[in-house]
Symmetry: C2
Subunit: 159 residues, 2 copies
DNA sequence: CGCAATCGAATTGTGCACAATATAAATTAT
DNA sequence: ATAATTTATATTGTGCACAATTCGATTGCG
């Protein structure tokens, strides 16, 4: 009966551990979807998807950069970025040009329309802040915790 | 010059607000990807993707449930779940059967292999906990904050 | 110098994620 | 009971996301 009790306790601990890890990862996963759904109607007006919006945000801070650079800033690879960037080029928000110095790299630059879209995009953040129903301070604190977690996870991936 | 100063200040505030909201949503978005990448090698051994793993976790807690139920628990719709569940059925982890009481609903039940996979899955959470490099308490606190944020976002979507 | 190794993008194939639509079954209203 | 509406799932089309592979350009090493 002792050994049986121990077995039952071990199973319970494993179950709870599994449940815990799931809850945290699932919390992040489902919150990302929730954000996406809140952003969607706002970004529809700009003609952007959320990943495209992220790319534009990155480019508004610094453009004329290689695809590789964008990928490192956004944690995305060329398999994701290449078709996305082609769609942004088709929408005439960016221009893709091969570097003359190194023919392997493709430089991404904003068009005048791409720059102009920044003004319209300024309406977006207030709506999100309102939807989150948090103070700026609370969100900043959460962000720092989440980023710290992300960076530890990414550190494990880099061995 | 006064009016110009005001304009400049307004622009700076808008820029910062936009940057802030971006950082929080992007933090969640990029952390979800980081989790996915950490899970992948572990779940490969089980023959599951991360969304499939979430479905299995939900079913291990309660199965013989309609697709609708799963969708509500995971915040996913039938367009996502139907093909995913068909793949799990092809892998012989679940069985999909029309309810006899209400022919509209499809009930999802675990097969014996589906139940059995639970034992192998218990190896997963420890690795994730180790990768996160956090204490259980820290992760629980973060989870609660993130879930609270998610629920507020979802509340806005439901009007 | 020449050639292997590396590098940056692009391509291919699989699997979500969701909007919009379709369809069949059940419920409600008339 | 028949029509209109609602409900649960399935289908279609678009757009990520990433592993694996390919390809041309560049770098390094002997």
């Amino acid at each position: 009966m002792d050994s049986m009790t121990i077995m039952v306790r071990k199973q319970t601990a494993a179950d709870q551990a599994l449940r815990l890890d799931n809850q945290i990862c699932f919390a992040v996963y489902s919150t990302a979807h929730a954000f996406n759904r809140v952003y969607k109607p706002l970004l529809d007006r700009l003609g952007l998807t959320y990943p495209q919006y992220l790319v534009m945000l990155a480019l508004w801070e610094r453009d004329d950069v290689p695809v590789k650079d964008l990928g490192e800033r956004l944690f995305l690879d060329s398999g994701t970025l290449t078709p996305l960037l082609k769609r942004l080029e088709a929408a005439e928000l960016i221009k893709r040009t091969r570097s003359t110095e190194d023919e392997r790299v493709v430089l991404i630059a904003l068009t005048s329309q791409g720059h102009a879209l920044r003004e319209k995009a300024k309406a977006v953040p207030q709506s999100i802040l309102a939807a989150s129903d948090c103070t700026v301070g609370e969100l900043l604190a959460m962000k720092d915790e989440i980023v710290a977690l992300r960076d530890r996870l990414n550190a494990v991936l880099g061995e």
